[in-house]
């Protein structure tokens, strides 16, 4: 069965409101949300893949006569499944961009409880990750050279920042 790439999911997210391929490209090119490719060589093939899998449709906008893409029901369901898949430690370690993309997409797809759960799980996983990094640093302090230790410190601080963000965001949600 077909699975979109991260870029594919990002595009699907944009196509909750219909857009031309060019508009999609410009969004990736000019906004800070979505650090994706934006080159025609990646966007148009990606759109065609989504099209051939019936996750989006291409239609002519009657007012301006341009070809626009929109997400299909099937597309929505695929995105939803992706977002609701339980977060893993690996997601948090190596695919934080995907995690944040899911969080953005969830707003239009999931109810409060699901979002709460997502944030809670994110917080927990970040806590585990942070503990792992702390442990690694104290167990290897003597073996690591200066810059490696400093780089590890940077990782820990980013982890903390993300943990605090998740905690604060969760509190906002709980307080309605």
């Amino acid at each position: 069965m077909y699975t979109p790439t991260t870029l594919g999911y990002a595009i699907l997210g944009l196509l909750f409101k219909s857009k031309t391929g060019y508009q999609v490209r410009k969004i990736f090119e000019t906004t800070p949300l979505g650090e994706f490719s934006s080159s025609p060589g990646s966007i148009y093939p990606a759109l065609n893949r989504l099209l051939s899998e019936n996750l989006i449709t291409k239609e002519i906008n009657s007012t301006n006569n341009k070809n626009e893409f929109v997400i299909t029901k099937r597309g929505i369901s695929i995105v939803k499944d992706w977002c609701n898949r339980p977060l893993t430690l690996d997601d948090v370690k190596n695919k934080f961009g995907e995690v944040m993309l899911k969080f953005v997409l969830m707003e239009q797809l999931s109810d409060r409880d699901t979002i709460n759960l997502f944030l809670f799980s994110l917080k927990e996983n970040l806590s585990v990750y942070k503990a792992e990094l702390d442990n690694y640093l104290s167990n290897n302090r003597t073996d690591l050279n200066l810059h490696s230790r400093l780089a590890l410190q940077q990782g820990i601080e980013v982890c903390n920042a993300n943990y605090n963000w998740a905690l604060n965001t969760l509190n906002k949600y709980i307080l309605n």
Copy 2:
């Protein structure tokens, strides 16, 4: 002219001390430094590319009779050039992993002044990036939906964490 991939540079960094391919794999697999692939399908082809470009050599360790790789002079020079290339805003926005890898590699390749300059430039670029994100958030506060704003906030906080890290690290360096 040939340019290594990020994985290639990471491997070159490890081969300042000679290692077998398997040892390289295990480092990527088990340590938090270097969030790289570690699968044989990526490591061994990468090693062979570096070998055919004479950036590393393969030699039999006389004591344990195993094939080990070491970086060559040419390899060192290539890594050094890569590290000393001026940091760009794009590096800081989209390739922070590479930036940190350079920082780690610099320890064995660059003098104090160069490292200071690197950290200073990193700090400056992070400052520009942060300003961009702040600006984008205030200019689009009404257009963005809740989760997009929160995600942007997360980006800003990571940016801040990195800025503070760079600042603190720079101070450590200046104070010797």
